[in-house]
Symmetry: C2
Subunit: 335 residues, 2 copies
């Protein structure tokens, strides 16, 4: 059978938000499948802030996407042909499928393709039951080690990862403060259990945070980077843990990053730890996380929402939604 | 017996380097000793960068020295009278004796007075065998967990703490790079085992560091804070550990701290940890450190040097030596 593939390839390195013209939507006929390969029909693409960093020509934890290469992204697809004994036609698979309608690949450690159970809705599998949920669990539970009664602050709290962090922190008995942009997101955060919320688009976080963090801050789960960190460092308690999960506000898009916090000294006074992490390192050991998350989801204790755009032609603009804050929940695209 | 005490009290909060006129040297006659108190004749005062921060009216890990209070500092003295069963006349004691010739005090947990063995020279006891050596050991060994073959970078490397860190890192089999100011200090660092040195007064650290840190940086023991950190964050390896021990360049003296590193994002990419610490937290468990340090000192494996000023009237200018870089080794003052 002859398969037509539509794929977005990188043409120019974007500056700031991406433009459609940074890419090209290419039609191609896929070659015949070779020994060891699988052919996947992609169904959902996952959009995560880190994907933007892969488009920069900067060495990172993965090599930059090269010019004329398919744009890298995670996603779920159905195996429609296989010459690999580990995959059979009909399998649902998760991996780095890329911005394209089909993925013909010889699965490798780097692609991280794995067959997933066909039980829960796919958007859920890509959200709380996928690397988003595992990221939240790994950072907060494994690294942050929250204790009941502690105060947990979450930035980007209405985002895919942030909203899971908020809810797990509540399940662990913490007082939770969420920072998000806009009334709708803040109201939603309240509805899923956040004790306090700060709408950074309408209020000054520097002024509001001391009012709600009356007992200081024990854990800061930072999804955004940037200037909020400086304010947080003024409020941390002894033995505080700052978990750096992302830097939407500064690290992915900008060409000249903002200055960092001028009060790192506070980490000494408060014997505090600031730790960066990548979910990649934890994926091989994520059974415990997935088990606990699955239990919470099935018991209705973990709310989640997905923002589902449609159509392969909308990939670039869908990526931008993460940085403009338009997305409500986990950003996906249904092909 | 009537004892005359000379003491420096704080009169005005200093800005930047201290001036004699920020203090007043007061003569007083001490009252009779009361039940529970001890009278110490101070012999050596210890000068540490953190003492400068105690003079600022900023909440820290210890309360600020109040106006008209004796300036707080560690030191060694001989007990010359005691109405406390835990101390007897003739005991050598270490604690927060203050900038004064005599210290009449009821020992408390806060003062941390402890009787020390009268075996090694007092300057050694205040240096490698005192909180300086314990700081180096706690930060590098207990928190940094250096592995043989790793690269350890030390700023303020010719300072009291830094030079001990350099030598312990060598004893642990690491490749050690030291940053210090001036040829004399750099030559000395080489002589005590540093593999590479950078003289920040005559060379551009940002340019030199990548040349010597060819295998990246696994541990950065930061004694100075400030802009070197930004350069280091560009060179850290996966799972690097940044240990914040002090911030001479920014945190103690200045009224408006410098901007922080704009690349904290690197902590995420490299899954690295930045940790602030205070030796205070470790002192109750420092037997292991002192045992290992004592062994190294007695075996001649741990070089140390002390910069000994003289005369109680020189306290303020002796403190400044730490920040001008004039001191060569642990800064002490003999009364």
């Amino acid at each position: 059978m002859m398969i037509k593939n539509k794929k977005w390839i990188l043409k120019e390195r974007p500056i700031g938000l991406v433009k459609d013209s940074d890419f090209e939507l290419v039609n191609e006929e896929l070659p015949a499948i070779n020994e060891g390969e699988i052919l996947i029909e992609n169904i959902y693409l996952s959009f995560d802030p880190t994907q933007r960093s892969w488009l920069n020509d900067v060495p990172g934890y993965l090599p930059p996407v090269q010019i004329d290469e398919v744009v890298r992204s995670g996603g779920i697809g159905r195996v429609i042909d296989s010459k690999n004994p580990d995959y059979k036609t009909g399998d649902l698979t998760f991996g780095l499928v890329g911005w394209q309608t089909h993925c013909l690949t010889k699965p490798s450690v780097e692609d991280r393709f794995r067959v997933i159970p066909d039980l829960l809705p796919m958007p859920t599998m890509l959200n709380v039951m996928g690397s988003t949920g595992i990221t939240a669990y790994y950072g907060l539970v494994e690294l942050g080690k929250p204790k009941s009664g502690e105060t947990v602050l979450v930035s980007g709290a209405a985002g895919a990862t942030g909203s899971v962090v908020v809810q797990i922190a509540k399940l662990k008995g913490c007082h939770v403060i969420g920072i998000a942009g806009g009334k709708e997101k803040c109201d939603w955060l309240k509805s899923i259990g956040a004790d306090d919320v700060i709408d950074y688009k309408n209020y000054d976080v520097h002024k509001e945070l001391p009012k709600v963090a009356k007992n200081g801050i024990d854990i800061y789960f930072d999804n955004v980077g940037g200037e909020i960190l400086e304010t947080v460092l003024e409020l941390i308690n002894i033995n505080a843990r700052v978990l750096l999960c992302g830097g939407i506000s500064s690290g992915y898009n900008s060409t000249r990053p903002a200055d960092g916090p001028n009060n790192l000294f506070s980490l000494i006074i408060k014997r505090a730890t600031m730790q960066g992490f990548l979910v990649l390192d934890y994926l091989p050991n994520s059974e415990k996380a997935l088990e606990e998350i699955a239990t919470w989801v099935l018991e209705g204790k973990l709310q989640h929402r997905e923002d589902i755009q449609e159509g392969i032609e909308n990939c670039p603009q869908t990526l931008n939604r993460l940085f403009t804050g338009e997305n409500k929940g986990k950003q996906l695209l249904k092909i």
